[in-house]
């Protein structure tokens, strides 16, 4: 299929989300769509998938204009949109999900389950997914769910698949698997539009790129003609150039131990022990399923430990009581902002105050003046872009929401900050702001436990890095020993025996 979108404009009220944007996708091409949050990528894709019509502009498929695109029409034209939030019903089986709304029928009124099951399994097998079509979706992990979404697109032999940040919840091995599948399909003539914030992935898998910024078309071209640095500049304009944040700064690590974890054990990890020093940034990393997720929440008392102790200067902590952990000087920025971070109905101001109210506020009444001042301080510190702090937090962009969540925890002035994948799904500018904050916190003598699976972050921030594999620490690397290869090897278990 050859897709052309010409001079597309779209406004939401007075906000112009797309201004005269044109781009095209060739047969059997993987086309990377780049832009910060709010640049118009998703709007453009929604126009293509018929979610809403453009104000002006045309869509051509194989040279013929398509008028009045609707989601159904897009499906008929063999276009599939895989959204960032997966649209699967957990309580249905894999094949039921794949055929949802487009069931095979027999005898006029019955669903032909046999045929559906067979066809679904064929597609899943052709992808080498290892998923049984009869499984309940609830029993799959995120990577497998992603595979099911792709399988669903293939089921109806789609020729153009749109993927909106498909790798956010995937680990490196799963990403590699996804790419292998994409490459196989590409050879068969399937085209992809690939939306992502992750540069290495874009350069790895995509042929051409199109960059949008603030609803404007900026540039198209081949990835082979540019490097990551240039791409980043196109993305954000000239205002931000990637730099090594820690370079040139004196080390802030001290000898003072602020947190001592001994023999921690949970459902998915065991024997985790470490000392954390004031002014130190310690990274925990590992593939999905390595135990890092649960370790992060356990250190905050949010999931239960089955063994081991956590100690701060105030003594052993009662790890069953989050409030006690907070009051002992530990704060946690949780992963998955939407599910665990924001309170969508509450104002920006209240979202900002919550942790302070829980752990520091003594009086019965809360003064709105104080809260306003508190937010104002956060706003300036974190450079949060906001028109009115009484609006719901959902009115902010992802990056700004995350800044509010960070501010929430800065307010309690903790000694130790656990940050669990804090840069998930936010744009480069906001990411950079968070890295700067982490380094700033360390230089103030705070300790940061940073959980991430993205190598660039480890490289930017780590004083020390623990790698987990199957629930156990396989390696403790100091800054000079950290390399992408080493981390990959330890987290895939390659070096496991050597370490022992």
């Amino acid at each position: 299929m050859i897709l052309e979108m010409k001079n597309i404009s779209k406004s939401f009220g007075p906000v112009q989300a797309l201004k005269d944007v044109s781009f095209d996708v060739q047969h059997g091409e993987i086309h990377g769509l780049l832009g910060e949050n709010g640049a118009g990528k998703t709007t453009l894709m929604n126009v293509l998938a018929g979610t809403f019509p453009p104000d002006s502009g045309t869509i051509l498929i194989d040279g013929a204009e398509v008028v009045g695109m609707t989601p159904r029409k897009a499906n008929e034209k063999k276009i599939r949109f895989i959204h960032q939030e997966l649209n699967l019903c957990n309580d249905l089986t894999v094949f039921q999900n794949m055929f949802l709304g487009e069931e095979y029928s027999k005898d006029f009124w019955k669903i032909d389950r046999k045929r559906e099951l067979k066809h679904a399994q064929e597609v899943l097998d052709s992808m080498n997914s290892g998923i049984s079509a009869a499984y309940l979706v609830a029993d799959l992990d995120t990577a497998q769910k992603q595979m099911v979404e792709i399988a669903r697109a293939l089921l109806f032999s789609s020729e153009l698949i749109i993927m909106d940040e498909p790798t956010t919840a995937l680990n490196n091995r799963e990403i590699e698997k996804l790419f292998t599948i994409m490459e196989t399909l590409k050879k068969e003539g399937v085209s992809f539009i690939y939306i992502s914030h992750k540069m290495p992935e874009l350069f790895r898998i995509c042929d051409r790129y199109t960059v949008l910024r603030d609803g404007d078309f900026i540039q198209s071209g081949f990835f082979r003609d540019i490097n990551e640095h240039q791409a980043t500049e196109l993305l954000v304009g000239k205002r931000f150039v990637q730099a090594h944040i820690k370079e040139g700064l004196p080390s802030s690590i001290t000898d003072k131990v602020v947190l001592r974890a001994k023999n921690l054990q949970g459902k998915t990890f065991k024997n985790v022990s470490f000392d954390l020093h004031a002014g130190e940034i310690v990274i925990f990393t590992g593939l999905q399923g390595s135990g890092t997720d649960e370790l992060a929440t356990s250190l905050f008392g949010a999931s239960s430990l089955s063994g081991g102790t956590v100690e701060t200067s105030s003594g052993l902590l009662d790890m069953r009581d989050i409030k006690h952990v907070m009051k002992s000087g530990i704060g946690m920025i949780p992963r998955n902002r939407k599910e665990r971070g924001i309170l969508p109905d509450l104002s920006i101001r209240n979202n900002n105050s919550l942790a302070y109210l829980v752990s520091k506020h003594k009086a019965f009444f809360v003064s709105s003046k104080e809260e306003k001042a508190r937010f104002e301080k956060s706003r300036i510190r974190m450079d949060i872009k906001v028109s009115n702090d009484l609006n719901p937090i959902t009115s902010l962009s992802g990056g700004n929401q995350q800044k509010v969540i960070l501010s929430r925890w800065l307010e309690i002035d903790a000694d130790v900050y656990i940050m669990d994948n804090p840069t998930q799904g936010i744009d480069v500018g906001a990411k950079f702001a968070i890295y700067k904050l982490v380094v700033e916190l360390a230089s103030q003598g705070k300790a940061v436990l940073f959980f991430t699976s993205e190598y660039p972050e480890i490289h930017q921030l780590a004083d020390r890095c623990f790698v987990l594999y199957k629930g156990e620490v396989t390696s403790e690397l100091i800054r000079d020993e950290i390399s992408e290869v080493a981390i990959m090897e330890y987290s895939t278990g390659t070096h496991r025996e050597a370490h022992k």
Binding site: G13, P14, P334, I342, L343, D345, L346, L354, S359
Partner: protein, 325 residues
């Protein structure tokens, strides 16, 4: 140019926020205008106070319901709790001849019943709908057994002073009206000015995130039910005072529905997370106004429920479409 569009945007935004946030005022004023057209004497002091008196007891319950719904829960046991407490309350009054003790009993019993609901929801991990469905049935049964079909009637000796509590006036203002206004005001303060209020909305908005912010979600839920129970206790006390005779089988019946309706037309989302106490207060009055207008307009009494139902749907529909846009 950009500045100009931005300004327009904010203007529109402000208008949208206003219509969403103050929709309960819009519907209230609309209803009031209708009422005045139907009956120009609607605004007489006598009628206004009457509306408050009629709405006060359910209204106090609705304040508790407001918290419960804001936290994403529901309570079906309101009417049965009120019946149980007021029946026992009359018995206590007759045996102790102390109004103070009776009041304390009612408040305490209400808190206890609320605590039971709360603990079953939090420790038992049972859905609030099911828990309160069960307690609704249970409390009604207990009071029926106690009453054995007969009413709980206040003794002659206590009749006059006890009845004066609900029927009396202070500076020409009925006590019930004062009770409703004071309780509404206190609840509004609780919800808007204290951290507890913020926690209630936080729990209703995103339980997981609330927990990870250090909020003890179970405790907040239990406290909400306990507070609501205390208000039901007060409502039961006032009901006993107003009627002086409590029919075990019928006292308080339908209160939960009226309370939920008041909360809903007051603009509180059934999904939790948002809600306005002032909205519930206006919701209580709106239910009364609808009722009065129907009587004045000579709508056949059997059709009252139909009209009320339609108005509730229209009011909630109007609010939800605004939210979606």
């Amino acid at each position: 140019m950009k500045g100009l569009t931005m300004k327009n945007f904010q203007g529109k935004e402000a208008w949208r926020t206003m219509t969403t946030n103050y929709s309960h005022w819009l519907s209230f004023i609309l209803l009031l205008v209708v009422a005045i057209i139907v009956s120009p004497s609607f605004l007489s002091w006598n009628n206004i106070t009457n509306q408050f008196v009629q709405g006060a007891i359910v209204g106090i319950c609705a304040m508790g319901m407001s918290l419960i719904i804001s936290a994403g829960m529901i309570d079906l046991s309101v009417g049965s709790s009120v019946a149980l407490i007021s029946g026992f309350g009359v018995t206590i009054l007759n045996s102790t001849h102390s109004i103070t003790l009776t009041l304390l009993f009612c408040l305490g019993a209400g808190m206890l019943l609320g605590l039971i609901n709360g603990l079953l929801v939090t420790k038992g991990r049972i859905a609030p709908f099911i828990v309160t469905l069960a307690t609704m049935s249970a409390w009604r049964s207990v009071i029926n057994q106690m009453g054995q079909g007969g009413p709980f009637t206040v003794d002659k000796t206590m009749y006059a002073p006890f009845r004066a509590l609900a029927a009396g006036r202070f500076l020409g203002i009925p006590h019930l009206m004062i009770f409703l206004i004071v309780i509404s005001f206190l609840t509004a303060m609780l919800m808007s000015k204290t951290k507890f209020g913020t926690y209630v909305y936080a729990v209703g908005s995103n339980q997981q995130a609330a927990r990870l912010s250090g909020i003890n979600v179970d405790r907040v839920k239990t406290l909400i039910f306990t507070y609501a129970g205390m208000l039901y206790g007060l409502a039961a006390f006032l009901l006993a005072s107003r009627l002086t005779s409590i029919q075990a089988a019928s006292a308080g019946s339908g209160y939960e529905m009226d309370a939920i309706a008041a909360v809903a037309i007051g603009g509180t989302s059934m999904d939790g997370g948002k809600g306005k106490i002032l909205g519930t207060f206006l919701g209580v009055l709106m239910l009364r106004i609808i009722n009065t207008v129907l009587i004045m307009a000579n709508v056949p009494p059997f059709l009252n429920g139909l009209v009320t139902g339609v108005i509730i749907i229209v009011a909630v529909l109007a609010q939800s479409t605004k939210k979606n846009k």
